[in-house]
Amino acid sequence: MIPHKKVYMYGGYNTISMGTGRKEFNPKAVRSGVEDYIKEAGQGVLKQIGGAKNVDEGVIGNFMAARFNNQANLPGFLPMIDEGLSMKYGTSVEGACGSGGLALQSGIRNVLAGTSEITLAVGFEVQNTYKAIYGADILAGAGWYQKRKTGHAYFFPGQFSDRAGAYFAKYGKENARKGMSRWYANAIENSRLDPTAQEYHNTNPDPYNTCLKMEPNGKAFVDNLNYLDCSKVSDGASGIAICSEEGLKRIGVAKSEAVEVLSFVHAVRDITKDPKDLTELEAIKFATNKALNELGITAKDLATIELHDCFSIAGILTLEALGLAEKGKGCDFVSEGNTARTGFIPVNTTGGLIGWGHPTGGTGVHQSVTIWQQLTGRAGNAQIKIPSDRPYGMTVNMGGDDVTISVIIFKRG
């Protein structure tokens, strides 16, 4: 959808994505909780926009705090960020791992509806409260519960392992594994450039071969993916301000310091139905193409993409859905270096879900923060060059197995 008036994002903030990989992570010690993450991300944004007085509304994106942290009624945490948000409108949205993107979609809609000139969006998840084997139960809530019994112990890795298996069968395993391993290597190399990334401390000199040589083991995990093909288990939060033109004026920020939302699409696929084709992400294909078509551009006009690589195979299938590679050729597209930070279209420039981390409900917001940083020259060591003839950045956030999809296309304001 093309906004009928100008909508911008500004003032993004990411906490560290905490979990295995970070030197300071200790699963046995008392760690920061939901409150700490929401507060840090929220205040990180408020500091850049002149404080809570400038905020009309707040929205929180979260997936499963109700189970990970026994916490519901999340709007109540907005005034905890700053008492200036007390007695203001606040809501929370849930769409599994797409909750962050849904928070942005919700914020954009409110700005367009005119109920808010500035909406504070915060997405978070604190999921290291459970070991992975129990976390898998909780995350399985992103699928249809009627399928849980027959699903894998690691439910979502199981779903995407099936997709990878179908892809191998159709297009050949060897090539696919190479592409998936390059995907992992790109993620690690990019995350080393962002101090908030979960794999920031990773020093493996050859991540590509580490991943390539790690044969998937269905007895201990799943048949067609190894651990490195998977996104991280993360605690983290991200925040950003969604503003109208009026909003930007209120906080005295030039449009050029913000990113403009050019096109936004949210689409859902029936959760009770199996994918028609395991080698295609149907809803992602629909939503990304709709966003591009409405703007009259193609994926080749994008400077960079933050896409939802909850598993390496999901990243490759998304490239195919975008039309950047033909079906079955996404792995080659990656192997050839096109998605590396120096390639034709740098993807997930701070590591994505595999390298930066995947605090599930926060991911969609994190993606937009990264795009804002890249398009406005704030990405520090992770900064890529934005070609003047391809000024666009895109986010693709997915909830469940291709079920709840948010796509946003930005350019510098």
Binding site: I133, A136, A153, K219
Partner: protein, 445 residues
């Protein structure tokens, strides 16, 4: 009797002890897994956890619950398949909880030894005291309804002697787990002169199902593990006594502990290992072994004195290390027991001085934890020993002598027919003691 039928009723004696609790855990899990197989669905499995201490049994169940959870968490993929027909069990945590219940439901904690009379298999993990073992085993044998097989976890007493003294008629086998049984892969299996093939075959199947590495040892006191360890430890004590004339006892003990850890690239120094096993336990094992050894006196008055002074090492039920030769803080040695003045002396107060006397470590030195799990372990050790062999510092000399002695002990175990070959000796030291290299090696020049 089929394997699973034999395992329908088992008793572990000394079930709440350090070794007994591990044996209980592994056996309970094996029995629970058997009970989950379709052909065994209507069979009842009973595992008596017999111990003299009510208090220890109380703690045991907590330990079991915690450990079974860890095991279940690691095999949830398999458990989901085994429970596929249970429609009420949907999420991993439900399946794991159900499995924990199944395992715990097999275990019957008790202080009454009479429960063993109905068992097909008796696992004995009581005190390393030959007279006590004779009494308990023969008592069960006489009263049993089942003519059971006895598995003894003795680490030092010859199995034939137990067999004959308790009149077990060959229904016994040595099945020596390493501490902690749930983690350590090694099991030494020792036949008495009379052990039947059926019992031996069962023991091998059981070991395989527990995913253990079996090293057969001949029936000579101490077997391979303690045959090496006790002599190695005694040599360490003798080296301390020698070095003490120049260094003083405390510094000498620190030096030899350091040599055996760093210069020998072992997971811990010889005195830390003695503390880990327990000083009194080591004293006892030596006393049990000694009468069987010719031309050798396996005895240390320093161990006697430590025990007299009440400084015994060993572990708390939590698994934390008790103070012994060394004092520990968060598992790390911080002081040395001064046997003359009966107090601990902080290592910090003299370490630099002793280290200087020993000289620098070989340039290519890397700690055990780097070397042992390294893909290039062989190359790392070759480089290390090349350096060490060319050095003449006090540290290097002591280390070379120590390694030579360890090698002699290894060869002695073969020549005295305890171990079949080099591989048997090395496997025990590599897997049971986590040494980075076996005593019989080509590194020494």
């Amino acid at each position: 009797m089929k394997y699973e039928d034999r395992l329908q009723n088992v008793t572990v004696l000394g079930a709440a002890g350090k070794m007994g609790s591990g044996i209980l855990l592994l056996t309970a899990v094996e029995m629970a897994d058997l009970s989950l197989q379709p052909q065994n669905k209507n069979k009842t499995f009973v595992l008596n956890a017999m111990d003299v201490s009510d208090e220890a049994l109380f703690g045991l169940m907590g330990y079991l619950r915690e450990q079974v959870r860890k095991i279940a968490e690691k095999k949830t993929v398999l458990l989901r398949q085994l429970y596929a027909d249970r429609e009420d069990l949907i999420e991993n945590f439900q399946i794991i909880d159900e499995y924990i219940f199944r395992v715990l439901n097999i275990v019957r904690p008790t202080t009454a030894v009479e429960v063993a009379y109905r068992s097909n298999i008796i696992f004995e993990a009581i005190k390393e005291d030959p007279a006590l073992k004779h009494k308990v085993l023969s008592g069960i044998k006489k009263n049993s309804e089942k003519n059971p097989w006895f598995f003894t976890n003795t680490s030092s007493i010859p199995i034939t002697e137990l067999d004959e003294a308790a009149e077990l008629g060959g229904n016994i086998i040595g099945f020596h787990f390493y501490n902690p049984p749930a983690v350590q892969k090694l099991v030494e299996v020792i036949r008495s002169k009379h052990t039947s093939d059926d019992l031996f075959d069962f023991a091998m199947t059981y070991a395989k199902n527990l995913r253990k590495i079996v090293v057969p040892s001949n029936d000579i006191a101490g077997f391979i593990g303690n045959g090496h360890f006790m002599r190695d430890a005694l040599y360490g004590i003798q080296q301390v006594e020698k070095l003490a004339t120049e260094f003083g006892y405390v510094k000498a003990l620190y030096a030899i502990n350091k040599i055996t850890q760093d210069y020998l690239v072992r997971p811990m120094g010889i005195f830390q290992l003695t503390d880990y096993v327990g000083i009194e336990v080591c004293q006892y094992i030596m006393a049990v072994m000694n009468p069987y050894l010719k031309d050798e006196n396996l005895h240390s008055s320093i161990l006697d004195k430590m025990v007299e002074q009440g400084v015994k090492g060993g572990q708390y039920s939590s698994g934390a290390q008790k103070d012994g030769f060394l004092k520990y803080e968060k598992g790390r040695p911080i002081a040395i027991w001064d046997i003359d003045n009966k107090k601990y002396i902080n290592i910090d107060s003299f370490a630099a001085e002793v280290d200087a006397k020993l000289g620098v470590l070989p340039a290519s030195y890397k700690p055990w934890k780097v070397v042992n799990f390294n893909r290039n372990k062989e190359a790392l050790l070759t480089a290390f020993f090349e350096d060490l062999n060319s050095m003449k510092t006090l540290g290097a000399t002591l280390a070379k002598d120590y390694n030579k002695r360890s090698n002699e002990i290894g060869l002695q175990l073969i020549s005295s027919n305890v171990a079949k070959d080099n591989e048997a000796v090395n496997t025990v030291m590599l897997t049971g003691f986590y040494h980075a290299y076996g005593p019989i090696n080509n590194y020494l020049k």
